[in-house]
Every structure is written in structure tokens, then in C-alpha cells.
Symmetry: C2
Subunit: 376 residues, 2 copies
Amino acid sequence: MAVKIPSASVGVKINDWYNAIRKFNVTDAEMLKAEIERDIFRMEEDQDLLLYYALMEFRHRIMLDYIRPLEEEKVSSEFSEILKDIEDKQGKLTGLLDYYFNFFRGMYEYNNHDYIKAISFYRRAEKKLLHVEDEIERAEFHFKMAEIFYHMKQSHVSMNYALQAIETYQAHETYKVRRIQCEFVIAGNYDDLESSEKALPHLENALKLAREEGQRILEGHTFYNLGNCYYKMRKADQAAEYFHKAVVIYKEETSDILPKACFSLALAYFKLKQNEQAHDMFNEGFRIAQQSNDPIYISKFHFLQAIYINEDGMDSLSETFQLMESRKMYPDIEDLALEAAEYYNEIGRLSDSVYFYQIVFNARKQIKKGDWSYEV
Amino acid sequence: MAVKIPSASVGVKINDWYNAIRKFNVTDAEMLKAEIERDIFRMEEDQDLLLYYALMEFRHRIMLDYIRPLEEEKVSSEFSEILKDIEDKQGKLTGLLDYYFNFFRGMYEYNNHDYIKAISFYRRAEKKLLHVEDEIERAEFHFKMAEIFYHMKQSHVSMNYALQAIETYQAHETYKVRRIQCEFVIAGNYDDLESSEKALPHLENALKLAREEGQRILEGHTFYNLGNCYYKMRKADQAAEYFHKAVVIYKEETSDILPKACFSLALAYFKLKQNEQAHDMFNEGFRIAQQSNDPIYISKFHFLQAIYINEDGMDSLSETFQLMESRKMYPDIEDLALEAAEYYNEIGRLSDSVYFYQIVFNARKQIKKGDWSYEV
């Protein structure tokens, strides 16, 4: 099967089309229109995009209606005045088009991981959100905002949008999957706000919904997230229980995030000093990570090996951290260095402990520093 | 001079007035109106509030106009229908009133440090912002948003609003003080994003503006902020220079934040091992903090004493941290514990170093955990 075109890319092309329309550049507009019509056939399903397309098609016709009589009469008129005239008369349409213009551009930048740009387009879309009459569509927008701010660790802002979105979805029986996703974002924010205990009821709710929908993979994700919460609350035994349930489902569903769950489960077992189970899980996860040639999880399993298996593994440990650093895996470095710092403190190797605490601090700085820039 | 009433409190009272008006409760509305008119005489200056008052006064008269003929004709009509009729006809007025209703409620919650509630009211105000025609007033709103999100360390969101606000202020020669404040928020966000070097040009600009305006105290704040940036960039010598300039101005202006600048300057001198100047500044700052009975700075000077003056001060150090903890001074604990951890690591007292690193981690958790709750 051919790879589907992401709707955000088609959205950005419709933006170009809009620009051509607003400049009364008929040739470009017609060309882009034809190109977009071809793309839509090979595009992932997206109702919003089809609506945007339909609106733009309508706007295209308005342009032609204005242009043709002009050509016939050979009047060289001020296009900017005509544009103003069209936009005044079609205020509602222009508002909606502006909404979609900025919304799709935001999604496109988000997919390219340029979060700063994405936020600025999303915020422009938000100012036109009042033109969107359908409340589910507004909830979709709020969900996208919650998602991007969660990724950027702007937890309180993300929370605000997620709560707005879920309120709408709750009133509509058919949007259970989005409700589950909202619960994940809310739980994730609570986790980031060092309040994992507040995340639990949201994950319990997600679990109920996932079961009602028969969505096994979402059930697995819920178990994984529950495991994470308990681990952060320093309840490794409950964490291990949930990670185990996630592993079972990911195996059934042959999910590609199985190594992640194996790693977390092995780590929890090592913490609990359940060495036999820990070794089994380590071996299984390491093998899968190697088979799927997953460099991130291979280095994370090397970490477990250096700390818990070859006990004097400081050399191979610093090698692993250097590798992770070269790949800018700062969130992983943060978590694993903290594990190492606490482990070495526990066994009385203080200078190693201090060394890893400093790595944690440095990773946190790098995470905050990020890879962004503002145009000021 | 009597203490001025904060405009946010009067704003919340106008909100009550609005509620009474919308219920056609004439007695309460008249009473609140009279009370508010008295308050306004004793209120801090606030143009926005006066505008809100004027709009509400107008809305009050509309209510009376609708009520009086009803009373004369003794018609018992459906008030909710009349309300709808008024609000439809006065759409623009209702929009503006809703804006101010939520804006002042937000400011009120902000002043009470209930940031979560404040954000939710500000966000409702934002949806009505299109009814505000004056661009300086919209910039004021954006500045308030930048301010609250800066306090909540939602740096990227704060940045977005601050850039919007400053763009407007830049076009208006007369808003230099707000421009300086915007530059402070932008610089503060860069600091929080571990990008202090990007804060410098904004502070340089603030310095230029403060001098143009002859605002000595803002010049002092700029020097203090510059000192902080250089300190975070581990350039203690340049930091000391700027802290010194801030101290000079704060003395001239008898500012109550003089102990803060003395503390930072003493710390920078200790770092630079310029012990004589460090002791002088320590003595001066400590004396002022004691004279003004400032418990926060008294404990921070105790910290300097325990680390740099009485070198085996672990006992008095843990006492100081306990005191700070009981006052929930987590941001101070974070900074000072990190100083201590690094200091003890440097002089080879590793177990003390690890102890303080753990205090840093705990403080960061407490800061994130915060003191908030969401109604879900």
C-alpha cells in the first residue's frame, strides 16, 4: 500500500492556493487546485481538511465570478478594492478560511517539530475559532492545543485546554477514543507537575473507556501509563504489576513499543531486587531491541547492564551516556542519570553519585534550553 | 495617606453590580452602584476600571429604561426575554462588559495568588478581546497574560504574549515603562529557559529606555537582572559589577529590595574569593535585613554565614533550610541548596554534597507540585 499523504501537507498547499486566490492569480490558483484534488485521493482521512477544501473551492469560484466580468469589460480595476469588497461580503467565509489557514499551518509545523512556529499559528487560528460553529470541531482544536503544550511541558496551559476539550467530548458518546487521549494528556500533565497521585483516577477512567471500546492497544498504553505513575510515586511493586500487564498486551498486539515496556518492567524488578525476573525481562527486551535495531532502547538496556549486571560498569556507563548525549536524548539521560545517582548513593559510592547528579542537572538545562528560537 | 483600594477589588464589585443588573434586581444594583462610586474616590488610578464603570453605568440605565415602563404598565413580563432583547440589541456593549467582567475577576484572583482561577478568567476575557477596539488596551491584556504565565513558569506561552504586547507598545512612544516591563518578562523567560545569553540584548534595551525616561529605580532593576543573567552564565565577575551598580541605585532610592542586591553581591564576591569585599557586603546586607526585620533575607544571610564564614556550619545550615522549608520558600531553597552542593563537592565533602543535591531535587518537585488544584 502506498504511503498516505499527511493532511497537514495538503492543508499547507491549500494555504498557497488561498494566497494565489487573494492575489487574483488565476493560473497559479487553477494549477494548485488541480494538484490538491489529486493529492486528496492519496491523503489520510481528515474531515476538517475536506471541509477546508470545500470552502476554498467556493472562495475560488467567487474569485472567478469577480474576475470574468472584469476581463470581458476590459476594466483594469484596483484588485485590492475588489478583495476588500469580497471579504466584507463574505465575512463569515473569510473568518473560517483564516481559521483553517492557520490551523493547518500550525499542524504542519507541529509535524516538523517546530513547536514555536506551530504555537504562533495555532494562536492565530484560535482568534478565528468563533467562526467554527460545530462544538466537536472546537474541541478538536482545544485537544491539539493541549497536545502541543503537553509536549512543550507548559503543563498548566495544556491542562486548561485538555479540560475544555474533554468537557465537550464527554457530552458525545461517540468520541470515546478522543476522551481516552484527553485523559492521557491530563494524566501526563499531572505527572509532569509531580502530582502522579492525581493522575490515577484519569487513567482508571481511560481504562474503563478503552475496555468499553475494545481498544486493546489503548488498554496497553493505559497500563503502561499507570505503571509509570506508580514508579514515580516510588511504588515499584505496583508499577511492576502494571508494566507486566502492558507487556502482555504489547506482545499480543505485536506493538513496536514492546521494548519500552520490557525496559520499564526490568528496571522495576531490579529496584525490587527480584533478580531472576529482572534478568529474564532484561534478556527478552534486549533481544527484541537488537532485533528491531532500535538504538535508543539498545543504549537503555546497556545502562541496565552496566548498573545492575556488571556491577563495576562505570566505563561502559559513561560510553552509554556519551552515545545518548550525541543523539540529544536528554529526557532519557535525565531519568537514567537520576537512577544511577540514587543507586551509587545507596551503595556508598559518593563520588560516582555526585558525578551523575551533575549529569541530571545538565540534562535538565539542555531540555529547557531546547532547540528553539523566537523572532524578536 | 490612606491606603488605596486595589482596582481589581472594585472590578469584582462591578461584577456583582452586573449580576444584579442582569437579574433586574434594582435595589441591589442601586446600592452597589453607590458603594462603587464611593470606592472609586479611594482607588488606585486605573483607566480600564473607569471605562468598565462607565460602561456598566450605561448598562444600568438601560435596565432602568426597560424596568420603568414595565412598572408603570404593571405588566408582569418575562425578564429573561427582556434580558435577551437587551443583550441582542446591545451586542457590542455586552461583549465589552463580558470582557471586563472576566478581566477584572482574573486580576483579582491573580492578586490573591490563585493563578489557576486567574488563568481561567483571563482565558474567558480573551475570547471577548475582539470587542476591545483600542490596541493599547489589547496590549495591556497581552502583558497581563505574559506576566501570569511568567510567574507560573509557562515560559513559552508567556513569551508569546510578551512579544505580542511589546510589538504594540513599540509603535507608541509614550509606553516606555510598559516596554521596559515587557523586556523584563522576556529576559526572565529566557533565564528560565536556561538561555540567559539571549536575555542580555533585552536588558540592554530596557537600560536604554529606563535612562531615556529618567527612571532610576527601573535602571536599578535592570542592573540587578543583568547581574543575575551573568551569574547564571557563571560569570561571577561581571555579575558582581552589575549587582554593585544595583546596590548603589537602591541605596540612593532607599529601595526596600536593597538587602536582596546586597545578598547577591556578597555571594558573587564569595564565589570570586574576594573575601574582604564579600565580608563588607555581608555585614552591610545582614544589618539592613535585621533592621527591617526581613525574615527571608535574614535566613539567606544565615546561609552565607554558615557556608562561607563559619566553615563547619552544617548544623546552622540545616536549621536555616528547615526555617525556609516551614515558610515554603522552595525557589530560594533550590538556589541555595545548589550553591551548597557545588561548594561541598568542590572542597571534597561528598556526603554533604549529595545531601544538598537531594534537597535541590526535592525543592524542584515541590515547586512543580505547587499549591493548586483543578476542578475536573
